[in-house]
Symmetry: C2
Subunit: 208 residues, 2 copies
């Protein structure tokens, strides 16, 4: 797949490598001081390159933050979709396992590096309207996925027949969001947090 041939001259590879490094350095800076507070010079200095060089790789400041966010969004959607087809499941027990798996996957991304949720949830939406829309798109995508899982469960009869799949999906994603945000301050509560989340989903909160 990556062998789409072409020159791939040694120099070309070097170039792609630096491009990659710039994206990473920008991510570091944005996460550390925030988007508006970091200058192009900061990013360049962190890599030990002149800031004029930056402009050989990216159009402008707005351009790079898009690439940084691309990267993070990719990681998240990857975790959401990888190895987890909605129709791979046919009982409630299997569904619980699958949701636990997805939950862990997200927890890993968010928990291992709190800068990821910080940037996506706290920094990005304040950059401009377009970026805020991108984040909302991400929420919508997540809602659509969750919704598909729920629909599947309703069809097979292991979830409530009268479930309002779309809105319930958003509610569930909200809980996940809440977990991600909590973990910004108390990363160690992650596990208990997602356990509580699953209990609410499956058992509700009322006494029996």
């Amino acid at each position: 797949m990556t062998s789409s041939a072409e020159p791939v001259s040694r120099a070309e590879r070097k170039k792609q490598e630096l491009r990659r490094e710039i994206i990473d350095a920008a991510f570091d800076c944005f996460a550390e001081r925030g988007y508006h507070a970091t200058g192009i010079a900061d990013v360049a200095t962190r890599l030990g390159i002149g800031h004029g060089t930056f402009y050989r790789y990216f159009q402008n400041k707005r351009d790079i933050v898009d690439h940084v966010v691309d990267d993070l969004v990719g990681r998240v959607t990857g975790a959401l979709t990888a190895e987890n087809a909605p129709d791979a499941v046919s009982t409630l027990a299997e569904y619980r396992e699958q949701s636990a798996r997805i939950g862990e996957s997200l927890a890993r991304i968010f928990g291992e590096d709190p800068r990821v949720p910080r940037l996506l949830l706290f920094e990005a939406p304040g950059i401009d309207r377009a970026m805020a829309e991108r984040i909302l798109d991400l929420f919508d995508l997540a809602a659509a996925l969750t919704s598909a899982y729920l629909s599947h469960g309703v069809e097979l009869g292991y979830l409530r027949a009268d479930l309002d799949v779309d809105n319930t999906a958003r509610a569930i994603n909200g809980m996940i969001l809440g977990t991600a945000i909590s973990s910004l301050r108390t990363p160690e509560a992650q596990t208990a947090q997602s356990e509580a989340l699953r209990r609410v989903m499956y058992d509700g909160i009322a006494a029996r």
Copy 2:
């Protein structure tokens, strides 16, 4: 209470009034173009005053956004606490009613003016670290309140005895957060959304 006397000269009242108007205008601007994109001049122009005047009322740009946020946080905490003592409730049915009431109250604030959630959730956290912490504080406060309700319910026996109150509180607040965010794009779904939220809380999602 407000009659703490003192001069309250006519001029003094005028002054407080303008101060108030500046806060409102700043809110309008921040919500419209975002914090970083609005200049003091924009705020002043909107009121038809010179921007020098602004500095007679507030120290600087950072100062005013604090006051704007104060205002919004006040509205939200007001909705969360007003007329809703945790111990005013003693059965599950009453608890459902109370939670519906609080939900409606929040829905009113967020639904009537989407700029409120947009500013609190999307704009504020990106301003600087201190502001992000303020928003996290607000989440913590909300979690503590919800937690108190849940504890009360566990003690009286109408909620599950093994409920992890703290983490469940955060999960529930997450769902509320999800609702607020959804309503940024689809305000009309508010009601269905919070209905779904309550169903998850009380009935879970599994078939019986």
